[in-house]
């Protein structure tokens, strides 16, 4: 009896293990809504501690004081699932040597579960000191956030432009984003001048982040808090894939969310298998992560393996934009017979962005591709719903027909009575 019980229990455990094992493992890392997040979102606050932070022009206090106060409040309000770190730039080196000054970036508090007291103590020790090596700090910050599948976010707070050219922080940001590690950089400028603003907004644009200029302490607190909270929002992260120039040899993709890069005037192919009786749904967005010319477009085509176009989606636009997107759907009709094989549909993604010659073309523009396959509906047979009608004309027509039929029937029966009487 006991053995049987044990056996049953064992089977249960085995079954549970199997079920767990068989559950499709998300290549795209999303938080499961009921359990713990599969990967903690990581945020690194990167604070400029250069000499210019001494300026007393935010609500009468120094920029540094405003930043410290904002950090204290944000640390108190940080959601507990967020792994938060702090990095400084220009905090240690007081000298004039540019080479040394441009390496001056240090991790003040490592990325990990937050100990509020420790983090606050660390922030309190800061005093405005040296240079503004934004580029190197961003590179190091990206390294700090390595590991895990969660979304990553860098919040850069600076009051001046990068003093360590020729390494352009904007290019650095774009390169970091091109690594495909789901990293966003949000920038905040403290009482920025035009150059700082342009540079910080360029960094933000390069990674799909946001730029804010700050003139008051409460603005700073509110915005940093908002960005940290945003990191905690569960989001489905895309999987990196590399499309091919031709349909043959293009990567085969399953339903899901993908990301790729595509330079100006390039197109890429992907292959999706669609079984009869299924509907393919694909949408694509191509992001403008740099300065592009003001008119642009995107084209998504579904073609057969032999190159016949099935359906296309296209969109064009002008003016300021973050992405241009389009989509298509392709319901494949049911087929008779057993050998109803899945058809390989080639998805071609092309963009018609262009850029001034001064803009670097590599790495390419970020492409986001979503592919879904659902069971397709049968084709509709009639324009009207089930052939039904509506409206007063329909009613009138029906009444007239009915009346005419009644009159006719009445005559017939009259005639029959007359016939019956004469007989």
């Amino acid at each position: 009896m006991i053995i049987r019980k044990r056996l049953a229990a064992g089977t249960c455990v085995l079954f549970a293990a199997l079920t767990m094992g068989l559950t499709p493992v998300g290549a795209s890392a999303a938080d499961n809504p009921d359990g713990q997040p599969t990967a903690a979102p990581k945020v690194e606050l990167v604070l400029d501690v250069s000499g210019s932070m001494r300026a007393r022009d935010i609500d009468g206090g120094s920029r540094m004081a405003a930043a410290k106060q904002a950090f204290n409040e944000v640390l108190d309000a940080t959601p507990k699932e967020v792994e938060l770190g702090i990095r400084t730039l220009g905090a240690n080196y007081r000298g004039e040597d540019r080479k040394v000054g441009c390496k001056d970036t240090a991790q003040l508090y490592p990325v990990g579960p937050l100990d509020r007291t420790e983090a606050k103590t660390a922030v309190a020790t800061l005093s405005p000191t040296g240079w503004t090596p934004i580029g190197p700090a961003l590179l190091k910050a990206a390294d700090d956030l390595n590991g895990g599948d969660g979304s990553r976010r860098i919040v850069l707070i600076s009051d001046g432009e990068d003093t360590c050219q020729p390494l352009d922080p904007c290019e650095v940001a774009r390169d970091i984003a091109a690594k495909g590690i789901n990293l966003t950089i949000d920038t905040l400028g403290l009482v920025p001048d035009a150059k700082t603003r342009d540079q910080l907004s360029c960094i933000a644009e390069a990674t799909g982040g946001t730029y804010t200029s700050v003139r008051h302490t409460d603005e700073l607190t509110g915005r940093v808090g908002q960005l940290v909270d945003r990191a905690a929002d569960p989001v489905v992260n895309p999987v990196a894939v590399e499309g091919a120039e031709e349909c043959t040899g293009a990567p085969e993709i399953k339903p899901g969310l993908y990301t790729d890069r595509e330079t100006f005037g390039e197109h890429r192919f992907y292959r999706v298998a669609v079984a009869p009786g299924q509907e393919l749904r694909a949408s694509v967005s191509v992001a403008a992560d740099r300065a592009v010319n003001k008119d642009y477009g995107v084209l998504l085509r579904a073609v057969t393996e032999h190159g016949r176009e099935i359906v296309r989606g296209s969109e064009a636009g002008d003016g300021r934009t973050d992405v241009i997107s389009t989509g298509l759907r392709y319901p494949k009709p049911e087929q008779d017979g057993d050998e109803a094989a899945a058809e390989t549909v080639c998805l071609q993604v092309s963009n018609s962005y262009s850029a001034p010659a001064s803009v670097k073309a590599t790495p390419g523009l970020p492409v986001e591709l979503t592919v879904d396959v659902v069971d397709a509906p049968s084709a509709a047979s009639d324009v009207a719903a089930f052939g039904l009608g509506r409206g007063w004309w329909l009613l009138g027509a029906l009444v007239l027909t009915g009346f005419a039929a009644g009159v006719l029937w009445g005559w017939i029966s009259r005639w029959r009575v007359a016939v019956w009487r004469t007989n």
Partner: protein, 283 residues
Amino acid sequence: MRTTKLLATAGLLGASALTALLGAGTAFAGSGDSGSSGDDKAPTEAGTSFRTAQEVEQGGRATAGASTGDYLYWSFPADAGQRPTVKATVKLPDSAARPSGATWRIDVYDGLRRRQSCMYGTQSRATAPDATSVGLSCTLRTVRAWSEQWANDPLPGTYYVRLTAATLTPSDQGLPVSAEVEVTSKEVGGSSAVDGSLAAPLVPGSTTEEAAAASDDASDGENGSSAGQALATGEPEDGWSSGWWSDRWVWTAAGGILAALASIGGYALTRGTGRPSRVPPGM
């Protein structure tokens, strides 16, 4: 005389039946303007991309603090027979540092991220020099239950709203603003009812399990990704409609009843009272 009475009664009966049925029909199909609801959990944030779009209920109102230059995204569900209207207000701070030269714009995209045209409404508006707020609105075409794959008609599913500054002078960038978005919709009813329906509403990430399993069998490619991760989960209040109901059923049924009554009337008119009066009783 009698026949006219009969006819009049029939007509009245038919008309009242139609009214009652139509009334029932609209009640069944859902209330006219979707009422205000969900104010208690109205989002106070906005997403910054399609993937992070904040979900808003119809009739609900979402607010967000943002900087000029941000791209703000919200999503809402819309079902067949509805004509959604998106209204957005951008509030500019009442201080010296406010974006003065910006043109604001809302764009609406469907679940396939295809841009949807506005039938009417001010989709983009330039900020007046001394304005403290900018109002925008966009009314979509009526959402249809089905359309051909080559068409761009609005279909049931998720809709995205993007609010942004379409033109912006560099000095206006990054200044604080607050935005408010409200989505309402009008039930258009049977006049837009069409045959057919989608297997699943156009909700991104809605890959059905059987389809996923089938495609797993069909391709064992390297690039695997799990199915069924909904990018949007918003649903209409009482679920997606199955698409078979429209008030056309009521009209057609009422028409049938009226036709039957009219035919009785016509019969009575020509047939007379049943027996010819010249025929003596008892024959």
